[in-house]
């Protein structure tokens, strides 16, 4: 019934490659059993996950048919509903056509399999398209603002929101974002990494509770974090809104991100390294400082960068506690301070097209920062979490060798 492409005797998959799924290809078309003698054809070499010619043919035919019919129907029946309606109709038609065409060569199971495959692939496509659409839309709407150099070097202090694009800019917002993120890094990175070290290295009685609480902390809505700082700093301590208060609110969001990522990374350090180090007679602190942390360093940097990428665009906590100003304020500890997310948010509520364009421009800058930090985190962190590159392994080995020689020379103190 199915085309089995991996009969015994045929080449087995290379060692270390994907799960042995390759042996029987679920993509293989499930052809109806023909009444007459089966036509013997050598099955063409197929790649797992690939698209065979028949599938491609059917899909393209259904696509052309569905779009044409949808266009025809849409012109006559529902002329008002916009692009979304058109595509929904076309998609429904596509599924119908695809099912019918597939039924000409496949049995029921095969048709269902194809339809589900189509639906699931569409969902993946929609997700990618949503992200792509958001990035593209922001870029198209905001590129006019970026074209003027003054956008990066001036502030809006002297200009109203309806000032033309060659006047004013986001300098104050960039300074504010930079300072606030820097302060929250200073506050939350030592705390987060030390907590992660506690969870993964010290592993005391509190560890279970701390892990649960940190997990819960990731879930605290950012507006609640902002409200907490508002209640603590602005009401209880009677201070005015400032960049520092905003940084504290950001830290509440950043600590759990740094902690959970760092804990995962520390857990990846092979236990053999710890044991080897301890067997050399080091203390726990020496093991952590000279073996565990250096081994995990790229991952720890990733943890910090992911934390930064997460909080750099947080708007709601900053909205509550940073106050509002258009002035340039270098001092994060006193007076209100602008930041990029706040700038975007204020801009989008203005009734002027130029203000909105500037908001999109600031959005591009913000998005680029997030992407840069994210990409850096990926590059420095190496592979996906859970994997170590060969280079990292080599480095660890070299470090261990160096450690072994250095401990033997080190002054015993």
């Amino acid at each position: 019934m199915t085309t089995v492409s991996g009969l015994p005797g045929q080449s087995s998959p290379p060692v270390g490659s994907a799960p042995v799924l390759t042996k029987v290809d679920p993509d293989a078309p499930r052809h109806r059993v023909a009444a007459g003698p089966p036509v013997q054809k050598a099955p063409p070499a197929k790649r797992f996950g690939g698209i065979d010619a028949e599938l491609g043919q059917h899909a393209v035919l259904s696509l052309i048919g569905s779009v044409s019919v949808a266009w025809l129907l849409y012109e006559n029946l529902l002329p008002t509903s916009g692009a979304i309606g058109f595509w929904l109709l076309a998609y429904a038609l596509f599924l119908g056509f695809f099912g019918v065409i597939s039924a000409t060569t496949l049995d029921r199971e095969g048709v269902v399999d194809r339809l589900i495959g189509a639906v699931v692939s569409t969902a993946g496509l929609v997700m990618v398209a949503a992200l792509g659409g958001i990035v593209l839309f922001t870029f198209l709407r905001g590129k006019g603002a970026l074209a003027n150099l003054n956008f990066f070097t001036e502030t809006m202090a002297l200009y109203g929101p309806d000032a033309p694009l060659d006047k004013g800019g986001i300098y104050a917002a960039m300074i504010g974002t930079f300072e606030q993120v820097a302060i929250s890094v200073v506050v939350s990175v030592p705390l987060g990494i030390a907590t992660a070290v506690y969870l993964s290295e010290v592993r005391g009685k509190l560890a279970r509770l701390v892990r649960i609480v940190v997990e819960a902390m990731t879930a605290v809505p950012t507006i609640v974090a902002g409200l907490f700082i508002y209640a603590l700093v602005l009401i209880q301590l009677g201070r005015d809104g400032s960049g520092f208060a905003a940084a504290l609110a950001l830290s509440v969001s950043m600590i759990p991100v740094v902690t959970t990522t760092a804990e995962v990374v520390l857990k990846l350090v092979p236990n053999g390294l710890r044991e080897a180090s301890l067997a050399l007679g080091t203390t726990q602190w020496q093991t952590v400082r000279k073996v565990v942390i250096p081994t995990a360093r790229p991952g720890l940097v990733t943890a910090v960068l992911l934390g930064v990428a997460r909080v750099i665009g947080e708007t709601s906590p900053v909205l509550l506690v940073a106050g509002f100003t258009n002035e340039l304020n270098y001092n994060a500890f006193s007076g209100p301070q602008l930041s990029l997310p706040l700038y975007v948010f204020n801009g989008l509520r203005q009734p002027f097209d130029v203000a909105i364009e500037r908001a999109f421009g600031a959005g591009i800058v913000l998005l680029s920062l997030v992407v840069i930090f994210f990409a850096l985190a990926r590059i420095i962190g190496g592979r996906a979490p859970g994997e170590m590159s060969r280079r990292q392994r080599k480095k660890i080995n070299a470090q261990m060798a160096a450690l072994a020689t250095s401990t033997s020379q080190e002054d015993p103190r």
Binding site: T138, I212, E215, I255, G281, G363, T407
Partner: protein, 358 residues
């Protein structure tokens, strides 16, 4: 979990510290002269941490405790701040749907309802896409594409909410007006509550719970996708192969192995998404026009959620009104905490079953 337990490590540590010169870090190797069996009363291995170690453990524990304290403080400060409002309103705080703090009459009933409606619409929009995308990434995507898609999902989760907000306000809303109008005019027969006052004017449909819900749905897609994908990818290889060996199609294999195995991941991921949706502030704030009334028609302009209400009202609130806002924040805190803790338990249960590998 493999690897030495705390006690084993402590024992090893003690071996170094208690042998020979105390405080020395140099390895001390005790060479036995003869292989004769030792008397059982030989040396006891005990942990005697150095000063350095004690300081290290104290510092790490201090950091962990301060994380606990921060979380505790959030609860304490919100509760303390909200006390006046709770004391004045009692249970009415949860049941009243007016917000007139000056008149001594306020509560969050309509806010709770609005939050629920927006969260529900977000799930209805986000869940199918997230489930499909997770299945696509873990089961259908070619190997070369898989890593890129995982990165893309994570990146989408990192896109700031304010970017989603401007996109939703200036792009999505326009696209959805026609859909909302069509839904309203087509369904107002069987679902009468969907009818709006002026059905022909597109502005009847702007700033509605529907549009806010769809936008929040897009925001929570990556959160749900990454949890579901991770659980799907842990479905045991042996059982997958078994299903395929029995002649299952890819979908047959997914239905028989991946979905049952990943059920907890689907539920947990959805709950995490819901938690995120309930707390979403900026997207909702940017889109809705705040109305302090029960949202009966999600397609019609005007609704409100707890998070958006806090962001809208904080600057003009003081005294009892501010206490009310803190109370609303406490309720939101409590809800998201409960949902996320439950989600965490569900997801971690699913992972513990991952040991059926052949």
């Amino acid at each position: 979990m493999s690897g030495p337990s705390q006690d084993e490590l402590a024992g090893l540590d003690g071996l170094g510290a208690s042998s020979g010169r105390t405080g020395s870090n140099a390895p001390t190797i005790v060479v036995e002269k003869a292989p004769e069996p030792r008397a059982p009363e030989g040396r006891t291995i005990a942990q005697r941490p150095t000063t350095q170690d004690r300081a290290f453990v104290l510092t790490a524990r201090g950091a962990a405790v301060s994380t606990l304290v921060i979380m505790l403080l959030i609860g304490v400060f919100l509760t303390l701040g909200a006390m006046p409002a709770f004391r004045q309103q009692g249970f009415g705080f949860l049941l009243e749907n007016e917000w007139l703090p000056e008149a001594g009459n306020f509560g969050i009933a309509s806010l709770l309802w609005g939050t629920f409606v927006v969260g529900l619409i977000a799930l209805v929009v986000g869940f199918p896409i997230a489930l499909g995308a997770a299945l696509f990434i873990s089961e259908f995507a070619p190997r070369s594409l898989k890593k890129a898609l995982i990165t893309l999902t994570d990146l989408m989760a990192a896109v700031p909410a304010v970017i989603y907000a401007i996109w939703a306000l200036f792009f999505l809303q326009e696209q959805l007006l026609g859909v909302a109008q069509w839904l309203s005019t087509t369904l107002d027969g069987p679902l009468g509550f969907l009818a709006v006052a002026v059905p022909d004017s597109p502005s009847s449909y702007t700033s509605s719970a529907f549009i806010a819900g769809v936008a929040v749905g897009v925001v929570i897609i990556p959160t749900m996708t990454s949890v579901m994908r991770e659980v799907f990818s842990q479905a045991p290889v042996g059982e997958r192969e078994g299903a395929i060996a029995l002649g299952a199609t890819r979908w047959g294999m997914i239905r028989a192995v991946v979905l049952p195995f990943g059920r907890a991941g689907i539920i947990g991921g959805t709950m995490l998404g819901l938690g995120r949706a309930l707390g979403e502030t900026i997207v909702v704030f940017a889109i809705i026009s705040p109305v302090f009334d029960f949202t009966t028609n999600p397609l019609e302009s005007g609704t409100n959620t707890i998070a958006a209400h806090i962001a809208i009202r904080y600057s003009e609130s003081s005294g009892i009104a501010l206490a009310g806002l803190l109370g609303a924040g406490l309720v939101l805190f409590f809800f998201t905490l409960t949902i996320n803790t439950l989600a965490g338990i569900v997801v971690s249960r699913s992972r513990s079953g991952a040991a059926t590998e052949i």
